[in-house]
């Protein structure tokens, strides 16, 4: 493209995340990029996407320009299909009604485990992070997409603490832990799109974002990355995608 539109890291994160969703799916979305990406998908190629929020909302339609400060605010519930208790919306996921969970995290490792609890030793942490919220539940109960900033301190060989389990220690260890369904199947960053080896449960690069090299993504990652045999290059965000995104988040609450 000669006049490729420019965009921020958070914007490509939201756009690529939105592209992972299919129309008719039931998606459980966390606050921030996940909420934004699900709402974006709903306004692009997924008009009948069903969005669930931890606050207890089923079938949400977030209004452009009225992003909620958390998924527990009334803005999440306005003109939705159903409002129920917080535990009950998570139980829908345990029962299996949800196709995809969509979440963030502070740290991710080669097996897709997420940490949002402690940096450093959990007994005497360097940083006490906010904790799991619904993250552990989503990661335990359904197939998840993770949207996360690509930095070496975030992409580590082994997370300091497994808040939300991916493939745990790889191989069959997730199933052996008692997690019989679900698992992380995509990681989206501003550098690329990542999947996991079916047997190994290790992260691999499926696609590089426009202008990103293999070296760049490896340099920003704290463990050795595999690259998929059919490595692709992501199509850049289109003007329509970006315009729609900026309509939804005109104040750049989540895309600054």
């Amino acid at each position: 493209m000669t006049d490729a539109p420019s965009y921020t890291a958070n914007e490509i994160l939201a756009v690529l995340s939105a592209r992972q969703l299919k129309d008719g799916q039931v998606v459980f979305a966390g606050i921030g990029t996940p909420l934004l990406a699900a709402t974006l998908a709903q306004r692009l190629h997924c008009p009948s996407l069903t969005i669930l929020f931890e606050g207890g909302v089923v079938g949400a339609f977030v209004e452009p320009g009225k992003l909620p400060p958390s998924t527990n605010d009334q803005r999440c519930a306005k003109r939705s299909n159903m409002v129920l208790g917080s535990a009950d919306v998570l139980l829908l996921m345990q029962r299996g009604y949800v196709d995809v969970g969509f979440m963030g995290g502070a740290q991710i490792d080669q097996f897709g485990n997420l940490n949002s609890s402690f940096i450093g030793d959990p007994q005497a942490p360097k940083v006490r992070l906010p904790g799991t919220g619904g993250g552990n539940d989503i990661a335990s109960l359904t197939n998840i997409i993770v949207a996360i900033k690509h930095q070496k301190r975030r992409f580590v060989e082994k997370v300091d603490f497994i808040t939300s389990p991916g493939f745990v220690r790889g191989g069959k260890s997730r199933t052996e832990s008692g997690l019989l369904r679900g698992g992380v199947f995509r990681v989206i960053t501003e550098l690329g799109v990542f999947g996991f080896g079916e047997e190994s449960g290790r992260m691999k690069v499926l696609a590089l974002n426009p202008g990103v090299t293999r070296e760049e993504v490896q340099d920003n990652t704290g463990f050795t990355l595999e690259f998929d045999e059919r490595l692709e290059t992501t199509a850049p965000p289109t003007t329509h995608e970006l315009e729609t995104l900026r309509l939804i988040d005109p104040d750049r609450l989540f895309t600054a």
């Binding site: 921030g32 958390s70 009334q74 904790g131 619904g134 539940d137 008692g178 997690l179």
Partner: protein, 321 residues
Amino acid sequence: MLEAQVEPYKQLRDNMARRDRGLREKVTTLEAAASFVQDGMKVGLGGSTMSRTPMALIWEVIRQRRKNLSVSRCIISTDGDLLFGSGAADHIVTSWFAQGILWGLSKVLRHGVEADGKHFEEWSHLAMGMRYRAGGMGVPFLPTRVMLGSDIAAIRPEAKQIDCPFTGEKLLLVPALNPDVALIHVQRCDAYGNAQIDGLQFMDIDLALAANRVILTTERIVSNDQIRRAPDQTKIPFFCVDAVVEVPYGSAPHECYGHYEPMLGHMEDYVAQVNADPVNGMRAYLEKYVYGPKSWVDFLALVGLEEVLDASRNGRSIYND
């Protein structure tokens, strides 16, 4: 502190037998209601994050200089900051602790846990819900399929992993949580405590059933006649409730569904001040906004009329379309 200790059934029932569950009017003052909370108690808070937080009650509990509280909530926010920062609570049981994504990490939490000996006992969100639900059902645990394989389970031996006697599957049993007292803010209730909650309920119903005492603040006290015109809208039955206080804007500066959205200007200033200095910033905030005001209305005046009216207009707009 072994918070997750399950109350034996006999004790739970004996406590309940001593409660006055008769149909009687319970309307009282904020001061009298907050005095149900005594030092060292397990306190459960209604609402979630910045929604329907029982702020006026928490504010009064802090003014009464309570100590050593163990406070639980599904997701805790500014209220957690104030409880840690004031010294009222030294233990918080929740799934998530921060002001909300707009403001990053809570420096008050960080200071408390990293440097000041405070405890943040973390459970998954569903686990918190099942703990209150078990407490409300009168059973010692509920089975779940979460936390398995994670380090949250590793640091929570209070939850027990079993092989299911029916299917052989691994399950996590989470222990019942029965707070000594629950503080809950609702949109309306009658003088007996029959409460209606509009919109998001969070874990409030299970919490109310689980707690050994329940204190309600309410935007409005309505007649029992009005409650009885739509009995299927009652969310908390009166016999769970021990005191009722009418406190308009009782969740300020947080939101109350259909009534007001969060007072974001106040929140912005608050976060800037306490994150800049979680000790002195918090002390100054408490002096000005908690210990200083003569009444809750006085506190609202400090937040500012324009902010309160803006929040109200936004809050009511949910019913515009």
